[in-house]
């Protein structure tokens, strides 16, 4: 890809949170961790296509570095807000079988890639990755280290999501020894009343132990996840949570918006709908988070993400080196993503694919000597071009039209007449600035990136079922 430069306007100015405006655009929409989005994946993309894409990915003069995502589906107890693929059990031995199958998958997958291709990014997500005990985590990392060339560089991003309720300083030390350098700590909310409503009671103290240990054992970056829109939240209570979080001084903070889709995620049926903050309250919570976090020195990166100015993400955004992938924002460009484990998503060249989303199907494919891929998608030129427009707007808040035309050999004005007219409506509300040279997201528009990106989504026909996606704010 040619270099892109972010708009100085967007990066240097504080985002402006306009509650009335955000309320008007409070519609459902994709988060664009990929384009096209996962609902477009289909079962016509299987093992044969995956192998062909993997081999083809080795053929570029400079093959992309590799990124690996490993899904660990187990959790000790159900958090009621969760929409992830997970299995609730207290039986840690269930992970023994799972790790054995993962090792099989690693053994079948690694030979598809030329051995000189380095893994510069690794992410363990869940579920609860620290459901794995020391032996299981070591077995997994040994298998990865033997099968793949893990980058020895300090700027590699090897991250793991941690539930502090099941971690201590010793387990964090082990993770550092296994090579992890980024910790993603689940918090959601420190208010006990909220915690009881979502079945996740976690003290500030046990969280602090984990974060302090990460610092002590040399983790490069600590991020924490919060959720606004959970039952029983109020601005007063959430302000207290934010103050406690700021005192922990994480490098990155993500404040996700709770999407209540109980018909799709069964665990959410245990959340009492009448306790969920209404739209006005959710907006107040978000607006307050922006204000408090920015006042505390965090930079707003985009979507739900904040980072300290010295953090790699904030630095990368200032230099136009920010990218968006399934883990959110990243500083590593253009990796080929290998997804391992149940429900994991991969992204090889111009294709996406996803593994079986249920354990029995995942296990039986591997037992039969097959890769457990269940569905996927080959991107055509149009998907790639639209995906690039969406990526630039979500990461840089800026799209340079001449550079875009040169990259893709398209006439922007002629190709995107309908999209431009949709953008003109957003311009009237002050979300974007439009010139023949560029599209720029305004300070007001930064909270509505999804709405802006949706202008370029060819799969969102007016009649399309968007209820599968969470709300845009």
């Amino acid at each position: 890809m040619l270099a892109t430069s972010p708009s100085p306007l967007v990066i240097d100015s504080l985002p402006q949170f306009d509650a009335e405006l955000v309320a008007r655009y409070d519609i459902t929409g994709p988060r664009y961790t990929s384009y096209p989005t996962a609902p477009q994946f289909h079962p016509g993309f299987g093992e044969q296509q995956l192998r062909a894409m993997a081999y083809a990915s080795n053929e570029d003069p400079i093959p992309r570095p590799l990124s690996i995502y490993v899904h660990v589906p187990f959790c000790f107890s159900p958090c009621f807000y969760c929409g992830c693929t997970r299995i609730i059990t207290r039986d840690r031995t269930r992970a023994d079988t799972y790790i054995a199958r993962l090792v099989d998958e690693i053994g079948m997958t690694a030979p598809l890639f030329d051995p000189d291709r380095q893994v510069v990014q690794l992410h363990l997500g869940g579920g609860t990755p620290n459901f794995l005990d020391a032996g299981q985590a070591s077995a997994l990392m040994n298998a990865l280290g033997q099968a793949f060339a893990l980058s020895p560089d300090a700027d590699r991003e090897f991250g793991i999501e941690i539930d502090p309720r099941h971690a201590d300083a010793e387990s964090i030390r082990l993770l550092a020894r296994l090579g992890f350098n980024r910790l993603s700590v689940g918090i959601q909310d420190f208010d006990e009343d909220v915690q009881r409503a979502v079945n996740r009671v976690q003290s500030v103290e046990e969280t602090r132990i984990v974060i302090d240990a990460a610092r002590e054992y040399g983790f490069r970056s600590v991020s924490v996840d919060l959720i606004h829109g959970l039952p029983r939240q109020t601005p007063e209570r959430f302000a207290k949570t934010l103050a406690e979080v700021i005192a922990l001084a994480p490098d990155r903070i993500a404040t996700y918006s709770y999407a209540h889709l109980p018909e799709r995620f069964r665990a959410q049926q245990r959340i009492r709908a009448e306790e969920i903050p209404d739209s006005a309250m959710r907006l107040a919570l978000l607006g307050q988070s922006v204000e408090i976090l920015c006042a505390a020195g965090y930079r707003y990166i985009g979507m739900d993400h904040f980072a300290l100015p010295g953090d790699d993400l904030a630095v990368a955004q200032r230099h136009g080196g920010l990218h968006r992938n399934f883990q959110g924002y990243s500083t590593h460009a253009e990796c080929d993503l290998i997804g391992l484990g149940v429900s994991a998503i991969g992204h090889l060249g111009r294709s996406f694919h996803q593994n079986a989303r249920e354990l029995p199907a995942y296990y039986s494919a591997l037992a039969a000597g097959q890769l457990p891929v269940q569905r996927g998608l080959m991107l055509d030129d149009e998907d790639v071009i639209r995906g690039d427009a969406i990526q630039r707007l979500m990461c840089d808040g800026h799209l340079d039209i001449a550079a875009f035309e040169q990259r893709h050999n398209v006439d922007f004005a002629r190709s995107f007449a309908a999209e431009i007219s949709r953008l003109r409506q957003l311009r009237q509300d002050g979300l974007v600035e439009l010139t023949p040279q560029a599209i720029d997201v305004t300070a007001r528009g930064r909270f509505l990136l999804r709405v802006i990106a949706m202008c370029f989504d060819a799969y969102l026909a007016p009649s399309a079922d968007t209820s599968r996606f969470s709300r845009t704010v």
């Binding site: 890809m1 040619l2 080795n58 053929e59 570029d60 003069p61 400079i62 093959p63 030329d114 000189d116 055509d380 030129d381 149009e382 071009i385 035309e405 050999n409 398209v410 006439d411 002629r414 190709s415 060819a458």
Partner: protein, 252 residues
């Protein structure tokens, strides 16, 4: 690409090529300037449109009988021979306007295998018929010699390249040659799309794949190239020329 409008290409689209030699965009490469009328018809009668090949499909195999001469109209091919240990050695890459199959000129068999690197279209002229028509069409024989001589000249580049100890010189010679050949058919000489894989390049240059990638990365870091997947833009042709011409002993 139903709704996106490509910018019209500035050069002739080689995929839309000819029904006959008369309106072939590559005719100046194949035909004598003076040819016309009945001579063209004579030529048309022996030139066959070969079925387009998809990536990985074989045009002819080592040892196959009744060799033909082929002109690449669009796409690209590689030619290679099998080595006793079961490996292969790539002899060359052939882009639009270039000949494939000259190895069959001497005997009645092809001496290498030709395989498409991407979807490719070709003109086919059986050697047996070619000599007949060349005898009848004034100037065609001389033109054929000219074209063949150009091909032989290009093939001589390979031993020169392989004689270089420095891997960087080999790659620079290759990229420069490809650039010049693109210029010859009216393409932007600084915008290369490599249809061969990293493995194939490594084989042709006598290098290991890691070295190929390291060299491309270094050229990119030095601002000589901009590499985006298979697309390679030559940003600094002069620097590339220096690397290509630099003798081994001056590297240190």
């Amino acid at each position: 690409m139903s709704t996106l409008n490509p910018i019209p290409p500035r050069i002739v689209n080689l995929h839309e090529l000819r029904q006959s030699c008369a309106d072939c965009a590559l005719s100046q490469l194949c035909l004598p300037a003076s040819i016309g009328g009945t001579d063209l018809e004579r030529l048309d009668a022996v030139v066959r449109q070969h079925m387009p090949l998809d990536r990985g499909e074989t045009l002819f195999r080592e040892g196959s009988m009744h060799p033909s001469l082929f002109v690449v109209r669009s796409g690209s091919l590689k030619t290679f021979v099998s080595l006793p240990e079961g490996d292969t050695q790539i002899l060359g890459f052939h882009i639009a306007g270039e000949l494939v199959g000259l190895d069959g000129l001497a005997g009645n068999r092809h001496q290498c295998t030709a395989e498409a690197l991407e979807r490719s279209s070709l003109c086919e002229v059986p050697f047996a018929l070619l000599s007949d028509v060349a005898a009848k069409v004034p100037g065609l024989q001389r033109q054929l010699f000219r074209v063949m001589s150009r091909e032989f000249g290009r093939e001589q580049l390979h031993p020169v390249m392989m004689g270089r100890k420095q891997a960087m010189s080999r790659l620079a010679i290759f990229l420069r040659s490809l650039s010049e050949r693109l210029a010859g058919i009216g393409h932007d000489p600084h915008e290369l799309t490599l249809s061969m894989s990293r493995q194939e390049l490594a084989n042709f240059l006598g290098l290991v794949i890691e070295t190929v990638s390291r060299l491309f990365s270094r050229l990119q870091a030095q601002g000589v190239l901009l590499v985006d997947r298979r697309r390679v833009r030559i940003l600094d042709p002069a620097a590339l020329a220096v690397l290509a011409e630099k003798a081994d002993d001056s590297e240190r």
